[in-house]
Every structure is written in structure tokens, then in C-alpha cells.
């Protein structure tokens, strides 16, 4: 039987690993390669790497986080791929099928598209045609508009789109996406638990797998994502600040009766 997955999300900004809060605050927390090596040793199910850099600069400022020769995000992908012995999804700044091809060639198994998919929905279809639906993950960031309703945001949460999250998820599936990664801006870095209502609504509306993210503060928060209908549960910050984050996360899922890989 297919296992539910537990996935760390690593955020990369200008060549450094960062933690994120509300999509606005980004603290540098470490070296992008060392962290992956740690997860590999832990036998992690899968890894999502998101390059959230907003400009083109990759100056690695702090000495202790510096990786020699890495001045470009794809150099980081190469290095990650060499140490990454688990499935890897790469996202951020992907605008064309050539961008996708380049990342898959360098060792990514799947790529995610977010802002560009909203601007040019055919990108999802073209990607699915070239690389198969299973390689295309639609990443959806959900915020609240002035009326207090949920809405899809792009450009790192800065631009509202007018799209309804559940309708957009369904559209992404129709366009050819093989999976949806859901992030909820107001939960990002807050540790208040998943938005289970939205997870449930979105997972019920699509037939492709949903990866739930945003809001995990304790390992005990994971099962609620699966119970709400997600196929996989992800978190970012929790992985950096807790020891044995994989084992303890799996234990919390097993204890709740979730079928995970031991």
C-alpha cells in the first residue's frame, strides 16, 4: 500500500538556507548542502527545495554557511543532487520548459511552478507533455484578500491573483499537473498547525496528490494533514530546530495510525 510521505522543505534565498515566517521574514540558518546530507543519513522520504530568491544575486555572505564555488542556484542543485539519495523536487524561478529540463537533468525528479503557472497556465501543460505529469508540481500559495477570503497569491505572497485556491488547484490538475503543494501564508512559520479546512477542501476537489505545508509547530501536527486528505505532509522550520526530526515525525504519524515508511 502506498505510504503517506513526510517531507522537509528547504528554503533557499540568495544561496543560503533560510527560515521563513509569513512569507516576509527570512532568517539565514545554514548551509544548503550540509542540511541535505543530514536528511540523507536520516533516510528521509523526499525533499523539496524552493529557491525563493527575489533578485539575481547569490552572494554567500556568511563564512560559516559558504559553499565554495556556489554562486548560482543550479550549482547548489548539482551539489544537492550529489548528496541527495532520495526524491528531490526543485522549485523557484522556473519560467520555461527549458528551465524545467535543465533542473531535471541536474538531478531533480520533479519541478514546481508557482507564479509563472498563474501568468502562463500553458506552462503546466507544456511541462507535462515534455516530462510527464508526475514531474510537474503546482505550488499554490494561499493568502487572504481585503475581504478576508482566501485567494491565490504569487511572487512570494506579494501579488494577489483573484484566483480561488480550490478552483485553481482543480485547474492545475486539468492543465496537467501531477501534484499540488499547498502553502498557507498566514500559517507560515507560526507553528499553529495546518489549515485543515483548506487542505480538506482542496484535497476533495482534486484527484492528484496534495502535499500539505505551513503551520507545523509540533510533530503531533502532522497526522491532521493526512486526516484532512493530504497524501503527504511537509514542514520547513521544524526540521531545522529539532533533533531527530524525521524519526520523531514518523513516530507521531505511526502513533496516529498513518501508513508511513519506517
Amino acid at each position: 500500500m502506498l505510504k503517506n510521505r513526510l517531507i522537509p522543505v528547504l528554503l533557499l534565498q540568495n544561496g543560503l538556507l533560510v527560515r521563513s515566517e509569513l512569507f516576509q521574514i527570512h532568517q539565514i540558518i545554514g548551509n544548503p548542502i550540509h542540511e541535505v546530507q543530514r536528511f540523507n543519513e536520516w533516510n528521509v522520504d523526499e525533499l523539496i527545495y524552493l529557491d525563493i530568491s527575489r533578485d539575481g544575486s547569490y552572494d554567500l555572505r556568511r563564512d560559516d554557511t559558504k559553499v565554495k564555488g556556489l554562486d548560482h542556484p543550479l550549482g547548489i542543485l548539482d551539489a544537492v543532487s550529489r548528496t541527495c539519495f532520495m526524491p528531490l523536487t526543485w522549485g523557484g524561478r522556473i519560467r520555461t520548459t527549458e528551465d524545467m529540463r535543465e533542473r531535471l537533468r541536474r538531478g531533480a525528479d520533479k519541478i514546481t511552478v508557482n507564479s509563472e503557472a498563474v501568468r502562463t497556465p500553458s506552462l503546466i501543460t507544456e511541462g507535462a507533455k515534455c516530462f510527464g505529469s508526475q514531474a510537474i508540481v503546482a505550488s499554490i500559495d494561499v493568502g487572504r484578500n481585503a475581504q478576508g477570503n482566501r485567494e491565490v497569491f504569487v511572487d512570494g505572497g506579494r501579488t494577489a491573483t483573484g484566483l480561488d485556491p480550490v478552483a485553481w488547484a482543480r485547474e492545475c490538475e486539468r492543465l496537467g499537473a501531477g501534484e499540488v503543494l499547498l502553502q498557507v501564508i498566514e500559517r507560515d512559520g507560526r507553528g499553529t498547525g495546518y489549515d485543515t479546512e483548506l487542505i480538506h477542501a482542496m484535497a476533495s476537489a482534486i484527484t492528484i496528490p496534495l502535499i500539505a505545508c505551513s503551520g507545523v509547530g509540533r510533530f503531533e501536527d502532522y497526522p491532521s494533514g493526512i486526516q484532512a486528505g493530504a497524501s503527504a505532509v511537509a514542514a520547513a522550520n521544524l526540521w531545522h530546530f529539532k533533533e531527530l526530526a524525521d524519526r520523531l515525525g514518523k513516530n507521531a504519524l505511526l502513533k496516529a495510525g498513518v501508513n508511513v515508511r519506517r
Partner: protein, 207 residues
Amino acid sequence: MTVGIIDFGMGNLNSVANAFERLECPSFLLTEPAQMKTVDRLVLPGVGAFGDGMANLNRDGWVPALEAEVRTGGKPFLGLCLGMQLLATRGKEHGDWQGLGWIPGVVRRLETTDAAIRIPHMGWNDVEIAKHDGIYKAAKGEQTFYFVHSFVFCPEDTSVVSAWCHHGERFVASVERGNIFATQYHPEKSQKCGLSVLRNFLQASAC
């Protein structure tokens, strides 16, 4: 012992090379069919759609060279994911395409009537081993592999099946016929279970 990884523009090459590096076996990316003569083992990896995969193999002249090396020459061959599906006679992904036809059968969409079963089949799943020699030699305990696919290979003769998997329906996780091995899952992404499969492939003898 050297491994040649066929680079026909369908992704996932570094991961495969990294896995062989982990096994301390030199591997080379092959960009021209003639290079296949220089290696001891051939791997056809693939992330992508059936039609594109066959188009690339045909365009770059891989098909006759593969026939000569693998089917006539008996060089051990391992197809991964799309690389397994391309062994079929026909593929039904976004159209109807002719495959290599090395193992008669078709590639069709994974079928299920259970709404709770999500497709693509993506993630870790247990396999039921049908052939305990070959790539599963000495496999012990729970065998869990990483799958990412929406289409499955249905061979006409199921005696070639070396392992089965379940996702909505029972489908082929891997096949083996003589010097030809292939897996629907990604051994290069399946941690210890996957490494063991690749190690066994390196030990397979030529036919």
C-alpha cells in the same frame, strides 16, 4: 566494470550516476550510440512522456545500436521508469506510440475505480517479489521503493515479471528477461532497497 547511462534528453541522469558512484562503480553518460560498445552495462533512465522518449531514441539513432548491443550482443541492460515502459510494443500516453517492442505488451494509464486512490502513483510503496534471484538477490524484510508514474507496463507474458506492486490495481513493478532488467520504480531514489537492486544488476552476467 563500467556502466553507461544513456543520455537521450529525458532527464534524471545525475541521480543515476550518483547512485553508481555510491556503489564505487564508474559510470559514464553516453551521448552517442557508438559509445555503448565501451561499457560493460547499460542503463536507460527516463523521466518523461512515452512519445518524446521514443522520438528522442529514434532521432539520435539509439534504437538499432541498442538492438545490437543488448538483444544481439547480450550486454546487461537496466531500464528505469520510462526506460522500462519503452521496452513495450506500444505506449498510450498522450497518443499511441510504437515502443522498442523488446518485451511484448502495452503501456497504459494506471486504472482504478477507487476515488481514494490518487494518480500519479507517487511515493513509497511495498513490492511483492516474484523472482528472488536477479535484482532481488538476498533482498530481506520489507522492500519499499520510490515510484513516480501514471502509466504502467502490461506485458503479454507475465512470466517476465520480477515484482508486483499495488495501487488501485496490481501492476508490474519490475521485469526481467535474460540480460534485460527494468524497474517501474526509481532504484536510484529508493535508499538502501534501491542500492541493493543496482548492486545486483552490476553482478548480473552477460548472456
